[in-house]
């Protein structure tokens, strides 16, 4: 099969899976709702006049917003990861390399400490500190005249380390009864109890972010050649990178705000896709986007349905993702 045909097939396959899984996750869950009732509810929900009932609460208020949020976060994180890996010339980079997760985590921890619980303040602070940490990383990397990628990484590591330390500090002063568990669980990440209100908060930034990153995919190919070569081709690598960083940061910060720190997806899914579609971002970006959504949807489905207790999503992504990744990794040649 020719690579291009194969890549297109793969992307169509992912799209199909995404649709099937989306419906499946509306129909299935711990609370049994009859399938035809689900359809009826979805229909009446569209018309805007669903009857108030437990079934309605379950399908339209619990499952539906969660479905959208999971798709947005999965797609957003892995497309951000793919973009970062491309524009920093390093397949081991994840979307929080510049410290956004650590910063957002600190913001949230501080919010929890301050307001004594997970409130709107927590979300706002998580988002604000997520952005702040990236800005600090960028400024720090400018300390030196030549602002290389290595400088950016080092700055990101410093900022992450500091914010992680500050998270620990907050945990340290938090009371162990309620605040410490709240912080710990928040950081583990979860989609449980996400609402349409949460969806409203993130849908615009994440969709815009994904749009920007996918649009810029060809330019990312040019960036992989290295800064000097990009410049000789008439491309300003710094400017392009800044746009990518902005988009990816907004996506990651938004995800962290509603779902806590969902690790692993942004790192592994792009690598997995690269093994299948190759390193051309023309295919890699949309493939990562869809694959991330499908992956997170699957994992979340398992989290919701497998046991009565909700296992934090961060745990499952790693435990499910790892062997899967190892398998695909073994099967493919090159890297």
């Amino acid at each position: 099969m020719k690579p291009i045909t194969r890549n297109n097939t793969f992307i169509v396959l992912l799209l199909g899976l995404l649709i099937v899984f989306s419906f499946a996750s509306l129909f299935l869950g711990r609370y049994y709702v009859e399938p035809e009732h689900v359809l009826k509810l979805l229909w009446s929900g569209l018309l805007g006049s669903p009857l108030d009932s437990v079934d309605k609460t379950v399908v339209l208020d619990i499952r539906l917003p969660r479905l959208f949020i999971v798709i947005l976060v999965g797609a957003g994180l892995s497309v951000s990861g793919a973009a970062f890996q491309g524009c920093f010339h390093n397949p081991l980079v994840s979307p929080d390399v510049l410290g956004v997760s650590a910063g957002a985590g600190f913001g949230a921890a501080l919010g929890i400490l301050w307001t004594n619980g997970v409130t709107g303040v927590t979300a706002a602070m998580a988002f604000a500190f997520g952005l702040l940490s990236v800005v600090v990383s960028l400024l720090l990397s400018r300390l030196k005249n030549e602002s290389s990628i290595l400088a950016l990484f080092l700055s990101g590591i410093i900022v992450s380390a500091v914010f992680n330390a500050l998270i620990s500090l907050v945990k340290f002063v938090a009371d162990t009864d309620s605040q410490l568990p709240a912080i710990t669980f928040w950081l583990m990440g979860s989609f449980s109890n996400t609402t349409f209100e949460d969806l409203g908060k993130i849908i615009v930034p994440i969709l815009v972010g994904i749009g920007v990153l996918i649009a810029v995919r060809w330019r990312i190919n040019v960036l992989t050649l290295g800064d000097e070569e990009a410049k000789t081709l008439g491309i300003n690598p710094g400017k392009t990178r800044m746009i990518i960083i902005a988009a990816a940061t907004i996506i990651t910060a938004s995800s962290v705000v509603v779902a806590g720190i969902v690790g692993w997806v942004g790192l592994i899914i792009p690598n997995l896709c690269r093994m299948i579609v190759g390193s051309d971002h023309k295919y890699l970006m949309p493939a990562s986007c869809l694959c991330g959504a499908v992956f997170l949807l699957t994992v979340d489905f398992i989290a919701r349905v497998l046991t009565p207790s909700e296992i934090p999503i961060g745990i499952l992504t790693a435990i499910i993702g790892a062997p899967f990744f190892a398998l695909v990794y073994k099967k493919t040649e090159g890297c």
Partner: protein
């Protein structure tokens, strides 16, 4: 397009200037070669000219206007020395990147871009392996890909750092003919770093000789003389006409 360097100086360390007060001017549609010993500053000169390094004194002018960066002005194509990339692209994709200027930041290469790429590939003669991966090419093949990439953008001036260095003599011959043809047919100027005085004699109009604390610029046949070689390279060389050929081709050799 006319290009001039005016009193350009550059050094990696403040005490130690690699280039100092270099000036020359290249008219439209001329080929210029730069000759000099290893480490004398040829690559540095090209980088300064293109704005990849910043002149510490002096400036580059293009059509009389100060030129500081390839980001600001189109028309100059650069062919780097062949090297491997981290990510593997097909030859076609790699050459398409030469069209970057014509693709907006949120855009994709258009049909026109792809046509120009195919054109460049066939000019260089590597259209046959356009679907192969760059990571699996030999050094020589890769060099041809980079030339095609620069051509895809239809430059007025082509800057090349040792374009023949990894090529076999057949490919060298093709590249030189190509450069000649680009000049003759499209009026493209070329600035070429080279270690082959022969090639310089054969295709270039002007030559810049770089030496330690000195340089010389002028018509190639006046610059590349046995005396100058002795002066700039500290070796004895012989420049002669190849016997038995109709076209009076010059050749060069180092003698003990």
């Amino acid at each position: 397009m006319q290009l001039a360097v005016i009193k350009g100086s550059y050094g990696y360390h403040p005490e130690n200037k690699v280039l100092s007060q270099i000036s020359f001017e290249l008219a439209q549609g001329r080929i210029m070669t730069i000759l000099g010993q290893n480490g004398i500053g040829k690559t540095t000169l090209l980088k300064c000219m293109m704005g990849l390094l910043k002149w510490q004194e002096g400036e580059t002018r293009v059509d009389g206007q100060v030129f500081t960066s390839m980001l600001d002005r189109d028309g100059i194509g650069y062919v780097p020395q062949a090297h491997k990339t981290v990510f593997a692209f097909s030859v076609f994709d790699m050459v398409t990147m030469g069209r970057s200027r014509h693709v907006s930041i949120f855009g994709m290469p258009s049909k026109l871009d792809r046509e120009k790429v195919l054109e460049a590939l066939s000019i260089v003669g590597i259209i046959d392996f356009k679907d192969q991966l760059c990571s699996q090419l030999s050094g020589g093949q890769l060099q041809l890909v980079y030339i095609a990439r620069a051509l895809a953008n239809e430059p007025k001036i082509l800057i090349m750092d040792e374009p023949e260095s990894h090529l076999d003599f057949k490919n060298q011959f093709l590249v030189l003919k190509l450069i000649q043809r680009l000049k003759d047919e499209q009026g493209i100027s070329c600035i070429i770093n080279t270690h082959y005085p022969e090639h310089a004699l054969r295709i270039s109009d002007d030559t810049l000789l770089l030496g330690k604390g000195q340089y010389g610029f002028g018509p190639s046949h006046e610059m590349i003389t046995e005396a100058n070689i002795k002066d700039y390279f500290e070796v004895n060389a012989k420049i002669y006409t190849i016997p038995g050929l109709s076209n009076q081709k010059k050749a060069f050799t180092v003698v003990d």
